[in-house]
Symmetry: D2
């Protein structure tokens, strides 16, 4: 098939890193040449870190070292690393000449002044913030083609911006009314570190809201919907579901007088006409998490009370795939000139 | 202990019936004298119907027969039976002289014209609809004392009316703004009948919204909050959680200018000052389902963006207890003159 | 790629059928030309039967009709249908000229006299019983090449025969000692029909043994291990896990004096040297269900008390894949001359 | 009711400690006067440690200090603390004059030489090892009456010794044959500390065996069954279930020639004639975890192949109750002269 693009995954010990590795291993145009951990540790075979990889790769996961990675001459580097770590290593990763897809939040917000409050660190590379393409694939295809640095979107923002931005852009949404996003996520969204809030017993047979009014993804969603944070129109409440993977968002918004459910469907269909990974549910059947688990899709559905203009949009994604690894692959595909769904469909 | 009140449970094969039986068996003032099924069937020992009752009762569950029940001379009859069945047997149950607590929806709505659309049958007893006390215990104590017929509230309405009605009653809530109730329930709420939507595989590792804009509990919630259905101010979206029991409701409402979070807490504290089964969460810790599972409490918490008046209320109950069986016991306790928490605390 | 083999799936509404469809849709050498249900029903688009297929196929699931299927000129027919149904339609399916892979139990047992007791019907086609190749892929490759009728193994038998048969065949196992198979399966193994035992609430937060001493897979396992049923050496206890998919079997057996753990590993390595879908766990890390869920592998591990010769073998598969659909694909691949892992790796 | 016995719980932050607190709060003869943590920490209200206790107690959990506890003049001290911690504080706890129930393993094994290998510390109090009553309640009632120090049994041992010891004691079990205990436990058994193996995502939708041939409970079970460790007749394999609470043990044993299933039932009925917390399942219905979850019972059932003498015993308990806290209460009840089931039934 000709030579494949040499790909490196940093953050290989986490859940998103593991999904990236699995996707790269079956991608016809990529070759996995390196796997790295953001924390110092002895090199460990990937199939010991993730026993499900037994028989599928003989690579080891090694501590991140910039020169070693450069020496691999990668064409593509995925950073599934903590925010501050990505912030620090993106410049040297770019210097290797590789295209860089950063799955952390460290290059997603255009307004660098938001970083201290929401990410706890001062952003030192406004130049790269300006260059980074926010990779909500279906809404950013042109910018993605040939992009050097891609800020891969957060999981919650993906589940909200993909359904809602086209409606705002088409001017269907009533101004001055809140957009209420009641989102529910599986536990992989909280990462692999064992904490009291990810303990099986604390999650199973329970359900809870968290970080009400102050989740880190709020400014990213606001930016994606062009609802200025200071307008306080965006209300985002994340919840923790007792499942491994998947996000379902129930989104309440008021549409302009005269807008009908059919208008929503029409706008979605037009926006996503050539988007193999967006699925529009036409009727009363709403998206459910099980339809997208282990799948690269974003599913969209809506119900509407036309008398009041009240719309209820339901979206579902797999937070590790369309909310992280498979969207990163979509973005890499476009940056490298592959078809968007290569290795995913 | 003096003579105990003779209690009968109809609908003993279901989940609410089972919970009622367990509560009665340990209640110091009640004696379980009969257990009945709404469907014809051979008498079956309760510990075969519900093996968890092995060693705890030797009663059998028998097909419902009005004369047989009358002959037991019950002081208390719980009907945890289907809506139409309750509608049919309540009159003869009252004729036995017992107090009747109906856990179905058949006597909850004051407007009988709503029954055909929401329950699929014509209501034939407007007189009893008028007499029935809607048993949202903490908001109805005076009417419950000595009540003959009690319409026990639905599970979703309990989780919404208990937190929100006091705020509306205290005139804290902005008029003309929607009250959005995003509710999530465990699967026992769907009953014990095996259906495609209660199949383990269809529920586990998934999550979904259902009956958007048209759930049967909508008019009951609207009635409890005095938000007329035709105002369309109430928006209620139920979801199915992959857990056995528990409901968490996330409720979005706009408060009047100048109302602060402290006002919500004050109103709740005043309203529920003498309510041992309402627990108000004072700080940032929000109610979670695990705190109320297998418990008779309704937990309340709230967060607020005071700049906009946007409040987010979080409530949690066990749908089989405060949402069904334990609230029925609270109501029976008050009707019979026992302390409200007898057998529950 | 040249012309692809035309494939039909009967039993398309069930879980195994759904997995077969997904595998065929991404298989480079197969084309899905028909989907059928064993029960009469109106034709229904596959993406309504299984909404996760939205956007992936426009085929409908139609009621099984022999002539219609013949008219499709299929090269391959998968029967993921009930036992008696498969028994009835296999002859006409073979007459189409297609290779037939039957995922039911109706052609697995060589001794037709076992059918009435274990499957509840008289087997009428001893000729086809004789012809059918029992498709435990890695142990039957030669017979599978070019096979016309393949009896695809049961899920529990796959998890037991793959690890244990090579040990018996290599004469490592003490005679006259029982082989105790304590197996645990996810709920998809019980099929898609809603029943009291597959109700979410009856399964979640619970665990149970069932059909002790009398599960239908017992004679199939006995046949595969060449432990005659009448010897009663095989003890098989299935249990139901509160998960969707996966089987883990813990198997207790006594090895001959002097046999060491290394002998087990050596026999497995030799037997499965060229088996990409068998993974041998070399050390203390044992197979777990999560390593094989949604994967086509059978994972093998063992621990041993060499002083007594007591071995404990642990195996894991995804019951819908290696225990059903992906093994059916492996078998079809071999029958058609494809590489065994085509479409699976 | 006269004065109640003053009770202290050490290890109040863990799951067993929490269950003890809930049981004591509703026990008619006990008064909770102190709650302690084994680790240094600031005093924290119990309802912040365990929000489900909101409204039920105003006690704080305080760091363990021997003099402070002595000053409370307790009549009863529960130690739900780590093994080494219990080993260290039991002597001073006894000096307060209180009866001490230790839920750790530090006083369960009569042979002190086993401690270094199985618990990692040298046992320094052989005198107290000799005095401690092993509190498998139903098999130790006489020794428990008035006991000063009670070693509360482990969860797995409870699920195995209660069903099997009476059969061994009645000489029904074939000698020289292994007793194979395939046990499955919920995650609360692993404690509250967040670890990679208790992370929700690592447990949910999975299942695994662990510590094969070398679990710490092995010598305790061997001691309880009088199967000397060196005989290697006891084979015990624990597994981790994706549920919160409950243990089910499937136990394989060979009975002597001529022993019938009825003999097992008879022995159990005789042994447990006056045991309200043992429930014997008479027929084909086997114990299941859901029947004992949140209940203080041990349920027993069995199936038998009389031709070979192969018996399969199935037992179920709630690991936090009969496997820890409620058995501790049973034992305390007997030590203090209360009826065994006080506060439990």
């Amino acid at each position: 098939m000709g030579s494949r693009v040499r790909a490196v995954v940093a953050g290989a010990t986490g859940y998103s890193g593991r999904e990236l590795i699995k996707l790269i291993l079956t991608h016809p145009g990529l070759e996995l040449v390196g796997a790295y951990a953001s924390r110092a540790s002895d090199p460990t075979p990937l199939d010991i870190v993730h026993p499900e990889l037994i028989g599928r790769t003989s690579l080891a996961c090694r501590p991140y070292r910039e020169e070693e990675i450069a020496s691999l001459e990668p064409g593509l580097i995925f950073l599934a690393t903590p925010n501050e770590f990505s912030h620090e290593v993106v410049p040297s990763a770019l210097e290797t000449g590789a295209r860089v897809v950063d799955l952390s939040g460290s290059f997603r917000l255009r307004d660098r002044l938001l970083y201290p409050a929401f990410y706890g660190f001062e952003h030192l590379r406004p130049d790269l913030l300006g260059e980074a393409v926010y990779g909500m694939t279906e809404l950013a295809r042109e910018s993605l083609s040939g992009a050097r640095l891609i800020a891969n979107p957060g999981c919650y923002p993906t589940s909200i911006i993909l359904p809602i931005w086209p409606l705002i852009d088409a001017d269907l949404v009533e101004e001055d009314q809140p957009v209420i996003c009641d989102s529910k996520s599986g536990v992989t969204g909280a990462g692999k570190a064992p904490t009291p809030t990810t303990h099986f017993v604390e999650v199973s047979e329970s359900f809870r809201a968290y970080n009400i009014f102050r989740h880190r993804h709020t400014p990213e969603i606001a930016q994606g919907l062009e609802l200025p944070l200071e307008s306080r129109r965006l209300i985002f409440t994340p919840h923790l579901l007792p499942i491994n993977r998947g996000i379902l968002s129930t989104i309440y918004l008021r549409l302009r007088k005269g807008v009908a459910r059919g208008d929503i469907m029409r706008v979605w269909r037009e926006t996503y006409a050539d988007s193999p990974l967006i699925r529009i549910f036409p009727g009363a059947q709403m998206p459910e998490i099980k339809f997208v688990a282990n799948q690269p899709y974003c599913d969209l559905g809506c119900a509407m009370d036309e008398a009041t203009g009240q719309a209820i949009v339901v979206s579902a994604i797999d937070n590790l795939l369309k909310g992280a690894a498979s969207q990163a692959l979509q973005n890499a595909n476009l940056a490298l000139g592959f078809a968007e769904g290569t290795g995913l469909l």
